[in-house]
Symmetry: C2
Subunit: 182 residues, 2 copies
């Protein structure tokens, strides 16, 4: 069993940011006896929302992402706050980032964004009956565009490279796998 | 346009690890004039390999991942080394991690694992005609199990939570979107 190859020797925090805490874990790799540090980007779990309108449109967003230093097409989402359920976080993020509200939120499952680097999981929330009820309420650090696209176009958007955010692609794949369509 | 809201004021490296370099970028958010640091986990791009045998089986692996401190079911993959093409990296990682070799490697596209935190993209490589040709050749820090599963079971593995690595789920979704099956 691979995990028996690794002994955690200790952990220390390097630096805290708004969402992420950098932690360094030191391991001994038992097969060789060698030791090495591994960095973990520690955060709370987050939620990725698939917001669907009654017209079978998906409410996409586009926002600046600091990792790639460019605007990225994705869907609403964010960290699940303390004391909040994933469903509540999904409804809140949907409302704040787009001004849309869902009739129903269903958690489809949990996925690992990057288990080599992140400790967190993300919940996939299917939000149906979405309608525009207000202006978005961005936090102090957001400027977000909303884009409606037919749900039937998502496969094509993945194929032609329009939708490249792997967590969003995986969220749609989980929905597809859980649906009864085939 | 959201990206015009952000002015990059400066960058500095915090620490270098084997694969990842931690970089801190300082931005001014123009709408409010406030400044804040954002951490970027800088690395070379990597490749995720979907290895398929002539018996329509997928060569999965299971390995310890330090972010979640547990074994994770995924597929072979790794960093594209300097001077290497994504196809070459796919063939090399497949061989090193599993002992399998592909007849043909086709790059299906590129996805963003986490554009908020990572600068890197990952290539999705479809590796067909895979057959076991040697023992795996782990680098100094790997202990990896190989598991063969029928390709027809992948959708069920996503649905039942057996396959939770979002990059791998997204890679299969890209393959699905690019296939002519429906």
């Amino acid at each position: 069993m691979p995990h028996e190859s690794w002994e955690l020797l200790g952990s220390e925090y390097l630096k805290h940011y708004r969402v992420v805490r950098l932690r360094e874990d030191r391991y001994r790799f038992k097969p060789t006896g060698e030791e090495a540090p591994f960095v973990v980007c520690e955060s709370a779990n987050w939620v990725i929302v698939l917001p669907i309108t009654d017209q079978e449109e998906v409410v996409f967003i586009r926002q600046f992402r600091h990792g790639v230093q460019q605007n990225v097409l994705e869907v609403p989402g964010g960290i699940v706050d303390p004391g909040e359920s994933p469903e509540e976080a999904a409804q809140r993020e949907l409302r704040e980032e787009t001004g849309y509200e869902a009739d129903k939120i269903e958690i489809l499952g949990e996925l690992l964004p990057n288990p080599a680097l992140n400790n967190a999981w993300f919940h996939v929330a299917l939000a149906t009956g979405c309608r525009l009820v207000s202006q978005p309420e961005f936090d102090g650090w957001e400027t977000i565009e909303t884009l409606l696209k037919p749900r039937s176009k998502v496969r094509e958007m993945i194929r032609n490279g329009e939708l490249t955010h792997a967590q969003v692609v995986a969220a749609f794949a989980l929905w597809e796998a859980k649906s009864n369509s085939h």
